[in-house]
């Protein structure tokens, strides 16, 4: 029966599109498995759910700031002047069946969308999955994150309730603080002085057409590139930079990812059933005269909010012009620096390490101690400002004086990242030593044996092949390129001489810091076998693999297969 359908429908299509071969390849595509690979999928499914629920909402929402007097089902606001946008939001919530559920799913999905993007991005960073050849997809991801923040901000501004109006007021204040063009930008966006009657319809069209269109296009590009380059995989038995191990798209991945879509939708539906979100009817319509205490933006804007709160009151008046450092610096710098640094990081890392190889096996975070420590420092910095964005709530609940919370944030935004860096690096190195110990001495079994000499020893069992493959240290980068060697990656080759060369060498030492493998020749180890004889069938330019453990009783060369990725032939040349 199945075959008849295949002949019928499949034949009909193939007669016209000649798809048998390409669809076979597609169906056989291998998808590696790891729970962290689901984070990006959550974001994707949230986006689909956002499109579905958002479309439903547009059938009822009126993006209009025309004043109306409300006489709807929510009697607490009967007779109150409000915008049509706010009135139609009340209408969706109280007079459209399923309207409240769709509104809440839409809002929860937006929050989960952003949370999943953040988590996905951190996964990519900490496992080094952004490395060559995936730098472009990393950049697309950062643009997607930025667009997601804007999309969310514009979305929760649309109901024109008291809270969202305050958000727009802050947006206007921040825009005005931009030197030279700020006032004009604000007037053009709002169509005149705040609030005017144009901002809601303008944000609406950006929110439902322009930004989602861009996001959709970029997600498509993101997925096609991922598809073309194939997934990365976590270290494990038989997994190298030259293969991909997993289950095929059809039927395995299709069924798994379908199930995951349903899980995501179910989680959002559950949250929207039992956890109220954005009850705009309680906030009341926007008025520029009032503001309630304890106002918070959605979580993904909290860091910007905290940056505004933590800033000191610097303002300059120079030659009749005002520099509002107190507003535009915190609005621009912290997030701007993080995003710019994140965008440049793959290229910075490549330049420092001189590593031009393709990477398809991910790092365990501990095996890149400096990168992991840097990431934790940034998370800590972000986290301090994010918490400061809710400092009034924290002060209230923890009984700390309000100003004390800000003082703490002002100090810890500088101190805490440094501590996080140091602590994380120590933890990573410690974990590496533990792995090394396991590889060298095996797993302690808890069995004590007395030797004929009277000595007591604990029996250890060698780690299994699977464990070895996971514990293996990744191949070290091949070391900095020789002086005057050209750089094929578009980055100006600074050479290794001169001040820049010295800085680079110093950074290289810091960035590649890792536990010393017995038998390996240091951090910037270059080439050749290390005497253990296990790397002998590696090409000449391969880095020393993790096999350098001179323990005759065990064969530990699981990294050997990963040591060489030189498929594209543009590895750093030998010295």
């Amino acid at each position: 029966m199945a075959n008849r359908a295949l002949d019928g429908v499949g034949g009909f299509l193939d007669d016209r599109f000649r798809g048998a071969k390409s669809f076979r390849t597609l169906f056989k595509k291998i998808f590696p498995d790891h729970w962290t690979f689901l984070l990006g999928e959550i974001a994707l499914y949230c986006f689909i759910i956002l499109l579905l629920t958002g479309t439903f909402l547009t059938f009822f929402f009126q993006p209009s700031m025309t004043d109306v007097i409300y006489h709807g089902s929510y009697t607490h606001l009967d007779g109150i002047r409000m915008s049509e946008a706010y009135a139609s939001t009340l209408n969706i919530s109280f007079d459209v069946r399923g309207g409240l559920l769709m509104r809440q799913i839409h809002h929860w999905a937006a929050d989960l969308f952003m949370a999943a993007i953040f988590a996905h991005m951190l996964r990519i960073f900490f496992t080094g999955a952004y490395r060559k050849p995936r730098e472009v997809n990393w950049l697309i991801g950062i643009v997607l994150l930025t667009l997601g923040m804007l999309e969310g901000l514009f979305g929760y501004s649309l109901p024109d309730d008291l809270l969202s109006g305050a958000g727009l007021r802050i947006l206007e204040g921040v825009m005005q603080s931009i030197p030279i063009v700020g006032t004009y930008l604000a007037f053009f966006l709002f169509g005149g002085a705040f609030p005017g009657h144009l901002i809601i319809p303008r944000l609406y069209i950006l929110h439902v057409l322009l930004i989602p269109g861009l996001i959709l296009a970029l997600i498509t590009a993101h997925l096609f590139i991922m598809f073309h380059q194939k997934h990365t995989q976590m270290p494990g038995k038989g997994r190298t930079d030259k293969n991909v191990v997993g289950a095929p798209l059809y039927p395995y991945f299709m069924a798994k990812t379908g199930a995951f879509f349903f899980f995501t939708f179910a989680a959002l539906a559950l949250a929207s059933t039992f956890a109220q979100i954005n009850p705009v009817w309680l906030y009341g319509p926007y008025t520029p005269v009032a503001m309630s205490a304890g106002s918070q933006p959605d979580f993904y804007m909290g860091m910007l909010e905290g940056a505004l709160r933590v800033m000191v009151p610097w303002e300059w008046n120079v030659a009749g012009h005002t520099f509002s450092f107190n507003v535009f610096l915190p609005a621009l710098l912290p997030l701007g620096i993080i995003f710019t640094a994140a965008a440049l990081w793959p290229f910075i890392e490549q330049w420092i390490t001189g590593d031009k190889r393709e990477h398809h096996v991910n790092d365990r975070p501990r095996n890149a101690p400096t990168r992991t420590a840097l990431g934790m420092a940034v998370i800590t910095f972000y986290g301090v400002l994010w918490l400061e964005g809710a400092n009034d709530i924290i002060a209230d609940h923890l009984n700390i004086a309000l100003y004390t919370t800000t003082r703490i944030a002002q100090v810890s935004m500088f101190v805490a990242p440094v501590l996080a860096y140091i602590i994380t690096k120590r933890i990573c190195l410690g974990l590496q030593r533990k792995d090394l110990h396991l590889l060298e001495h095996g797993v302690e079994t808890g069995i004590i044996r007395q030797m004929p000499s009277g000595e007591f020893i604990e029996i250890t069992r060698p780690v299994s092949e699977e464990e070895q493959a996971k514990l293996a240290f990744p191949a070290r980068p091949p070391g900095l390129p020789a002086p005057d060697s050209a750089d094929e990656n578009g980055i100006p080759a600074p050479g290794t001489r001169g001040a820049i060369g010295k800085v680079r060498a110093r950074l290289n030492t810091i960035l590649t810091e890792s536990v010393e493998l017995p038998g390996s020749n240091g951090h910037t180890n270059g080439h050749g076998a290390d005497g253990s004889g296990q790397a002998q069938d590696e090409p000449e330019h391969a880095a020393v693999p993790a096999g350098g453990v001179p323990d005759g009783s065990q064969e530990i060369a699981p990294g050997a297969g990963q040591a060489d990725s030189g498929s594209s032939g543009d590895d750093a040349p030998d010295q």
Binding site: Y74, G173, T183, N243, G569
Partner: protein
Amino acid sequence: MSETNGHGELPDETPDETPAGPHRVIGTPPPAEARTLLGGREPDGDRPAPRELPADPADLRKAKVAERLVAACFIVAMLAGIGFIAAYIGLEVHSVDAVLRSNLALGTSLSVAFLGLAFGATIWVRHLMPEVEITEARKPLASPAEDRAAFAETFTEGADASQFAKRPLLRRTLIAATLPIAVAPIVLLRDMGPLPGTSLRHTVWRKGLRLVEDVSNTPIRPADFSSPGGMITVIPEGYQDDDDALAKAATIIIKFAPGELQHPTVLNWTVDGIVAYSKICTHVGCPVSLYEQTTHHILCPCHQSTFNAPKGAQVIFGPAARPLPQLPITTDAEGYLVAQSDFHEPVGPSFWERG
């Protein structure tokens, strides 16, 4: 479906370990027996590839249990879906309680429907589909050098044929032709809004305009304040429905005991210890809505800029850089509070032209 059961009948070939090695290899998920096979090259069309995926799971008895479980999940999902439609048809909205009931019924049924599908599909994949692990070789991402060279050749040929490189006049005039058109969309945005002009420097406050209490819109006599106390939000009379005006003109008044008001508060702009300040925060424009009577601190709820009310609303904490502007007030013939004039400086957040 009956030719192969997927286990013992796979060709028992040993994978070839030469560099040209197997393109696709089925791994050996423990504890099933080894079943690697040569995937070989892509079929040339005439020769079908050997089966790569086992047709049945290892443990058929467990699979039978799983099958029933999956079916049960799907039936639950179906019933929940029917429940969703029933809840939509049966439950009215139009009041807070009815909406809460409807939301609970719709949300619960929808969640259960999706959970049923999700669990069913998951059990199906994990316990009914035979376990496989396939290793696929990656092809190098970079094109072979000869392909690159061929492309470069094609590109150069095309560039030559187009004359683009050879004729700089064409090239330059083409670029010149596109530049104005590229700028045009930005120019088109000019009418998005009026130029700011001096509008940020003024509010609707003017001489003799009454201060009325927000919401109730009643004018205020100094005698209405029996004693020093809280902060009252006032707006210019007649502007209660004009959000554009209110966004700049919203004002607070606070009454102080004699002698409490100090420099730099302008005492001539106060009436009987009643002082009026702009309600729009000088940081980013939130209405400063909190007032602590014991300390006389005005606090902005958005970013916690704190202003010292008796001393000219100077900033004592937070990111705001300037005090709240003071509105000069007096009383009219009927004894109601009125403005003496507009604010003497721009209210609200800083802007480039403010100076």
